[in-house]
């Protein structure tokens, strides 16, 4: 209850799989009443506009459900390509890795709740 969800994307997803993930994740946020979502994309060798849009949609839907999303572990080559593609993922929180992402989530939630103590479970 009120914990964090950690999702690690491990495979080169085709588009339907990405949409399934988007749906599953949204229902998970509701079911577990999660306050934070960490999406680890360190295994992704490429993020195109479709996956970029999926990440944005997850973040917006999570916000509606009162959860904060942090995308972590983007590879440098992926970041450079996204910027060149014209998709800097504005509005999505990012962190270097899971550990930093977790810290960012805690800080953000503490700010939201004015210093509330967050139990975190995975």
């Amino acid at each position: 209850m009120g914990g964090f969800l950690l999702v690690t994307i491990q495979v080169d997803m085709h588009d339907r799989l990405a949409l399934t993930l988007q749906d599953d994740l949204t229902s998970m946020v509701v079911r577990h009443r999660a306050r934070g979502v960490l999406i680890d994309i360190s295994a992704l060798e490429m993020v195109d506009s479709f996956i970029g849009r999926m990440l944005g949609t997850i973040a917006s839907m999570a916000t509606l459900l009162d959860a904060i999303t942090v995308v972590v572990g983007m590879q440098p080559s992926v970041a450079i390509t996204l910027v060149e593609l014209g998709l800097p993922l504005k509005g999505i929180r990012t962190a270097l890795d899971v550990e930093k992402g977790m810290a960012a989530l805690q800080t953000a939630l503490a700010e939201n709740e004015d210093g509330g103590d967050e139990a975190h479970q995975q």
Partner: protein, 135 residues
Amino acid sequence: MKLISSESVPVRTPEDIVAVRQAVRRKAVKLGFGLVDQTKVVTASSELARNTLDYGGGGIVQLEIVESERSKSGLRLIFEDRGPGIPDIDLALSDGYTTGAGMGLGLGGAKRLSHEFEIWSKPGEGTRVSILRWK
């Protein structure tokens, strides 16, 4: 420009887009592209393959390894479909323009990720997009 090798991959299903990305990655690695250049050309191929599937109703990609007169090697990707075609190419190239569910970055983004970009389209006949990235 000299054609060194050529291979074609069909684009009929969303899974094929993944296959295109993987085939493009293999070629880029074989050509000795750096990691950033690999990622750029793979990402461009993913955008264009999705266009071919979503707007062109499917088609094929031609993966070509080419060599310039100055013996520089490059990867050329030609996406071809027999779909409805694009009535206004300039409009389709502008960011944010989309008729589908995407972000409207496909064509413009792929162009920015490539060194050379060519597009041919005729309403009712189909679309052919060719991109080239030098090593």
